[in-house]
């Protein structure tokens, strides 16, 4: 009896804790449906007639939509190019490891660990010099480099799980390496591919340091737009909340879809 009581107590504690953790998100979502007056009301208002005006405003605001489009183009573009470069490397490292592979992989990891402040100054100068500053192409090139180590490490761990007989059989049939890679190996790891893509999209979508240093109005993404709210419209909480909600919804969808592979991605494939 005491153990059942203790169990129920722990479950209740879990519910309360999880609700407390989720509360800031819930509160922001609610504030997006309030009028500006209700959003700042004290005591805080829990029940109110929802208005969709803030969401409508955000979705018809050319500035917001522009930043949204930049976010989509840059995160999708950089994920695709990172796949193009990363998958062949992951395939070779995962299915045909040599004694040098471990060294190559740790070097790849070390590039991911490099603090961004260690590379930002030359990037600003070079990007300005070759007209990549404040351009979608420039941001795609950079985010590809951020995504590449993740693609190599994660896809390597998925490729390593392919039965060797499958590849051997295709080789005996006379298929060339590119055919085996793109037509046999890649389709075999589709779930891993999807999880990796979602993680790349999340990290590119949320990145802030590089974009705020290297982009202006032509290539800035949603995190920059939201940061701008602070200076220009800091007091319009309802509008700010609606814009914030719309900015994080794609990541929530991607994140919850990739939930099972999340740990694998966050630990670069170290924890399965």
């Amino acid at each position: 009896m005491t153990s059942r009581l203790r169990n129920a107590g722990l479950t209740l504690a879990t519910y309360i804790l999880v609700l407390a953790i989720f509360f800031p998100i819930l509160w922001t979502l609610l504030a997006g449906f309030k009028t500006e007056a209700t959003a700042v009301a004290q005591p805080p208002v829990l029940f109110f007639t929802p208005t969709f005006d803030n969401f409508k405003d955000a979705l018809t605001n050319a500035g917001y939509l522009g930043f949204f489009a930049h976010s989509v183009i840059i995160s999708v573009g950089s994920t695709l190019i990172a796949f193009l470069f990363g998958i062949p490397a992951a395939y070779a490292l995962g299915l045909f490891p040599t004694d040098k592979s471990a060294g190559t992989l740790s070097w790849v990891l070390s590039t991911k660990m490099m603090p961004a402040v260690g590379v930002i100054i030359p990037l600003i100068i070079i990007f300005k010099g070759i007209h990549l500053f404040d351009s979608l192409a420039g941001m795609i090139i950079l985010y590809t480099a951020i995504n590449l180590p993740l693609v190599i490490w994660m896809m390597r761990s998925f490729f390593a799980e392919i039965p060797k007989d499958l590849i051997e059989a295709a080789r005996v049939d006379g298929a060339d390496t590119m055919h085996i890679l793109w037509r046999i190996a890649v389709p075999f790891v589709t779930p891993g591919l999807a999880a990796t893509a979602l993680l790349c999209l999340i990290f590119s979508w949320n990145e802030f340091f590089l974009v705020v240093n290297l982009a202006g109005p032509n290539a800035s993404t949603l995190p920059v737009y939201i940061a701008g709210f602070m200076t220009s419209e800091g007091l319009f909480w309802a509008r700010m909340s609606a814009a914030s909600t719309l900015a994080v919804i794609p990541v929530f969808i991607a994140g919850w879809a990739a939930q099972r592979s999340l740990v694998r991605g966050l630990t670069m494939g170290a924890v399965k």
């Binding site: 879990t14 800031p24 490099m114 402040v117 260690g118 590379v119 030359p122 590809t144 949320n206």
Partner: protein, 293 residues
């Protein structure tokens, strides 16, 4: 299986060259710039080689730089330690079977998906605003004085936001760790009459060791780069209370346009990050070997 050397090169080299060009090469340039005097907005001064002058200024004269290093260490340590603690509690609670476990886990990881700037605007306004914020409504109702956390305890404010974000990260890795601890070991301990605390201390915690190590190491590497929260919530202030190394480099280049000094700061940041990572690896490896013995 083997693969022809030329084919391996063809598959691997493009990725390696790409990464080298965008990470190694710029870092070498940063090193090169750090020995130069170069102000972007004053081209008439030219660019000249000045040896270690930027470093001696940064390390021995610039008091803000020193503050930025100390702030970085305090803020990072606070975030990593607190989110490890909360993450561990949360992982232990979410590991037990209970109704709604799947939904609870999904809700608990949500903060990790929130972009840093949204995190900062939400906490700064909706929650921590001294007049209209949700938190102050509660604290004033409990009879506590009205506090403006970001103005009076700015480091605590930044740490709070980041802990909210990084607790789910810790929780995810530790939960994976708990799932890898075989249930029969724990059941055996229960049969032997171990209470919950003994079971945790003698069985779960040591087996969780490698996962704690990994989560602390990864979180430290990421949190050392914390920037968006500070940029939005405090702009490094008040004064330089929340100016960390990444934020100071940003200020030096974007407001001072000083290539040489900011590069020297960047080089120091990379060295500091490497030292902290190496130190952590050793410390953690030793701690967990001791607890296993």
């Amino acid at each position: 299986m083997t693969m022809a050397r030329s084919m391996r090169m063809l598959l691997i080299a493009p990725a390696i060259v790409y990464l080298a060009a965008l990470t190694q090469a710029p870092f070498i340039l940063t090193l090169f710039y750090s020995f130069q005097k170069w102000i972007l907005t004053s081209p008439e001064l030219g660019v000249s080689f000045i040896g270690f002058e930027n470093f001696s200024y940064t390390l021995f004269q610039d008091t803000t730089f020193r503050a930025a290093v100390i702030n970085l260490v305090i803020i990072t340590a606070g975030i990593v330690i607190l989110s490890l603690f909360f993450g561990l509690c949360l992982a232990l609670l979410l590991h037990r079977p209970f109704p709604g476990q799947g939904l609870a886990r999904s809700l608990a990881i949500a903060p990790f998906f929130v972009m840093p700037t949204v995190n900062a605007v939400v906490w700064k306004n909706l929650l921590l605003n001294p007049v209209f914020g949700f938190v102050s409504y509660f604290t004033t109702h409990m009879g506590l004085p009205r506090v403006d956390i970001l103005a009076q305890f700015p480091k605590l404010g930044i740490i709070t936001m980041a802990v909210w974000q990084w607790t789910p990260f810790m929780m995810l890795i530790l939960l994976a760790g708990l799932q890898s601890v075989p249930d029969d070991i724990r059941e055996a301990a229960e049969v032997d009459g171990a209470n919950a605390w003994e079971e945790f201390r003698n069985i779960t915690f040591p087996l969780l060791g490698p996962f704690i190590q990994l989560s602390v190491l990864l979180a430290t590497i990421y949190v050392l780069q914390l920037f968006g929260e500070i940029f939005v919530a405090t702009q490094g202030g008040p004064g330089s209370a929340t100016t960390t190394l990444p934020y100071y480099v940003y200020e030096t280049i974007s407001q001072g346009n000083d290539v040489g000094t900011s590069s020297a700061q960047g080089v120091c940041a990379v060295i500091l990050a490497s030292i902290i990572a190496a130190f952590l690896l050793r410390l953690l490896a030793r701690t967990f070997q001791v607890s296993k013995a």
